[in-house]
């Protein structure tokens, strides 16, 4: 840069200072308001939205779909689209290393490439146009980051739109603008402005089209227990499903009965000091995750079984065992399994029966267990599955198989007189209030939702006292 150019720049700056303001207090005042606004915004976000709860890291759970922080999503999506390009797309480091380095490098040395002293917007259409297209593509890639890049087979229009909008259009625009700026120096600024505007409109249109055509995949919500009470509850539910068969509902079983492959195995009770005092939480979690082959304990962690328990789930079981059986821990006041029923109230599946079934039945009544094909993991399954489905739940009748066996009476095979179904649960009947809830539910026609149950209820209207 020539000395006189530097001088003009300095002079113009001096002039603008003459017409300007004072740093203190004029600018500081605006800065302070901005800082206050940011602080208030953050407090509101922290209070009303909070930090999303995630389960504990589980290195063995390779099925987890990783997603980076939102400000890296555009890069993530760019890599996915880039990977679709034939041949070139296979050279991963071009997209992960070379292209980002080019972008960041250009940005870094910008003052040394763009050496003209011109600062007015109208004289920098090329630079501003490129920057505008880059920013729009970053935003639109972020917006479509949820949408799958390929469907795996056939013509996938949303995928083509993504490639055109995220890669082809911006690339064409960069080349066109560069040509206008460097090759045809006489191009009027207006043509470049129009190129930029058309590109941006095209990209917005293609992004909107992609989003309309392919609704993004709903992200799966994982329930994470945060309070001690929730953790104990979650642990007890998991224990009831995974552990009860062998260890019994109170962990006191010493000889396994009725479990295929482990019949008659002698095990140590897990509810006493022998286990709870000698193993700390981490060791207990490891025993559950990796098993104890010499003692007959199967591994339950994801490392051995893709359907297995996650790290967080194993932690909940350990917490439940501590608070339920370890005499050094005191069980906090817990909510009952289901809300108590008022006089005349009809229980519903969603509110009352589902937690009961999960706690007492699902352990055996799920796929892969010996249960006469009677599965109980959902409302539909409870009503329709099983070898004796037509006799299991008889609405309005006390004679269904289910109500009979949960009250401790066996079902005999009418033809042979042998025991067809033993009492349920096999070792210990449920508490009377639980059985009563089941009876009330079936007698009233097995309503599913709380609304349906309320419609059937005959709770006397609260009469206003005069």
């Amino acid at each position: 840069m020539k000395e006189e150019q530097k001088k003009t720049i300095k002079e113009r700056y001096e002039q603008s200072l003459q017409k300007g303001e004072r740093f203190w207090p004029d600018s500081i005042f605006k800065d302070a308001i901005m800082a206050l606004g940011i602080f208030l915004l953050l407090v509101l976000l922290a209070t009303f939205i909070g930090v999303p709860v995630e389960p504990k890291a589980d290195p063995s759970d390779s099925s987890y779909v990783p997603r980076p922080e939102w400000y890296f999503l555009f890069l993530f999506k760019f890599l996915a689209i880039y990977g679709q390009i034939p041949i070139l797309g296979k050279i991963e480091w071009l997209a992960t290393v070379i292209i980002p380095i080019i972008y960041i490098g250009l940005l870094t040395v910008l003052p040394f490439i763009d050496r003209s002293p011109k600062r007015y917007y109208g004289k920098r259409v090329f630079a501003i146009g490129i920057m505008a297209i880059i920013i729009v593509s970053m935003v639109s890639l972020t917006l479509i980051s949820n949408i799958p890049t390929t469907s795996g087979e056939g013509l996938y229009i949303a995928g083509i739109l993504q490639t055109v909008g995220g890669l082809v259009v911006p690339l064409a625009a960069y080349i066109l603008l560069a040509l206008m700026n460097f090759a045809f120096k006489k191009t009027p600024a207006k043509a470049m402005v129009w190129t930029t505007v058309v590109t941006i409109v095209l990209m917005i249109g293609l992004t909107a089209g992609t989003m309309l055509l392919a609704p993004s995949v709903a992200s799966e919500e994982v329930e994470v227990a945060t309070t001690l009470e929730d953790q104990i509850n979650a642990g007890q539910d998991l224990y009831s499903v995974q552990c009860v068969e062998c260890h019994g509902d109170d962990g006191s079983v010493t000889t396994i009965t009725g479990v295929e492959g482990l019949e008659g195995k002698v095990i140590s009770p897990i509810n006493g000091r022998d286990i709870l005092y000698t193993l700390n939480d981490a060791s207990m979690a490891e025993v559950i995750a990796y098993g104890r082959p010499d003692a007959g304990m199967n591994p339950f962690g994801k490392a051995y079984n893709p359907e297995g328990l996650t790290k967080s789930e194993i932690d909940y079981i350990v917490i439940f065992m501590r608070y339920a059986w370890d005499d050094r821990f005191e069980m906090p006041p817990m909510k009952p399994l289901f809300p108590a029923l008022a006089e005349g109230e009809v229980p519903s599946y969603d509110v009352h029966i589902a937690p009961i079934v999960k706690r007492y039945c699902v352990s055996c009544h799920r796929a892969g267990k010996d249960n006469n094909n009677f599965l109980m993991t959902s409302y539909e399954e409870v009503l329709t599955t099983g070898d004796n489905a037509e006799n299991n739940l008889l609405p309005g009748s006390l004679d269904g198989y289910l109500l009979t066996v949960i009250q401790g009476t066996e079902i005999l095979d009418p033809a042979t007189g042998e025991v067809l179904i033993q009492q349920m649960p096999p070792t210990k009947l449920m508490k009377q209030d639980v059985i009563d809830a089941f009876i009330l539910w079936i007698m009233n026609g097995m309503p599913r939702t709380a609304e349906e149950a309320r419609a059937l209820s005959t709770i006397p209207e609260a009469t206003p006292t005069p």
């Binding site: 530097k6 300007g20 800065d31 901005m34 602080f39 995630e54 400000y71 763009d114 011109k118 630079a127």
Partner: protein, 219 residues
């Protein structure tokens, strides 16, 4: 009394000349776009303050990281607020720093005599993103663990030295306790120290050259 005390301090530190040099300066007429730089600085200080609070309870080990954050959220008085501000502040800081960069680009404020200020600003932008990347692993939850696995994998795809970078980032071939320790050290010591140093130079250069004016037709 106060006047005497002030005079004593002024004689030794030079408060008056400091005030003249840093605060009592003329400036071109600005608008709200000019507050983004100071907003970034404010966010950095806020992240520093909340981060120090979090460091009191946080434990950088795979066995305890998740639980210590659980404890901050449920056991510590206002722990949820401090963590909430730190969590949202990190997103906002990346956003504000980026918009600040775009503003400087659009008004061409990176040109003579402010080239060096821009260069350092790019360093600050990259380091802010680095803070986000290293801080993302610290809660040691599923999202953190797998996002970092993929993130470091991408760094490992560099030809020739990729394997070295991957191992240097992870402290081994896999994500482990060493990775967490490394990211923690980078997040609370290495990157903040560099950031403070670069922010110092950035501010010095801004005071030296003054804030740039918005360009007019003649510029």
């Amino acid at each position: 009394m106060w006047k005497k005390f002030y005079a004593w301090l002024d004689e030794r530190i030079g408060l008056d000349s400091l005030y003249k040099a840093t605060l009592d300066r003329p400036e071109p007429k600005g608008n709200w776009w000019n507050t983004l730089g100071s907003a970034s600085l404010f966010l950095f200080l806020l992240q520093g303050a909340t981060g120090i609070f979090l460091a009191i309870y946080y434990t950088p080990s795979p066995d305890h990281a998740y639980d210590s954050i659980q404890y901050i959220m449920t056991g510590v008085q206002f722990g949820w607020l401090i963590r909430g501000i730190h969590h949202w502040g990190s997103s906002l800081m990346v956003l504000v720093v980026f918009i600040h960069m775009v503003r400087v680009f659009v008004t061409a404020s990176y040109k003579y005599p402010r080239e060096l200020t821009w260069l350092i600003g790019i360093g600050l932008l990259l380091m802010t993103v680095g803070m986000g990347f290293t801080g993302y692993l610290l809660p040691w939850n599923q999202k953190a663990f797998w996002a970092t696995t993929v993130g470091t994998q991408i760094a490992g795809s560099v030809p020739f030295i990729g394997d070295f970078i991957l191992k240097a980032l992870r402290g081994g071939t896999d994500l482990s306790a060493l990775t967490l320790q490394r990211f923690f050290a980078a997040h609370i010591w290495i990157l903040p120290a560099l950031l403070v140093a670069l922010i110092g130079v950035h501010l010095f250069l801004i005071i030296k050259h003054g804030e740039s004016q918005f360009p007019e037709k003649e510029d």
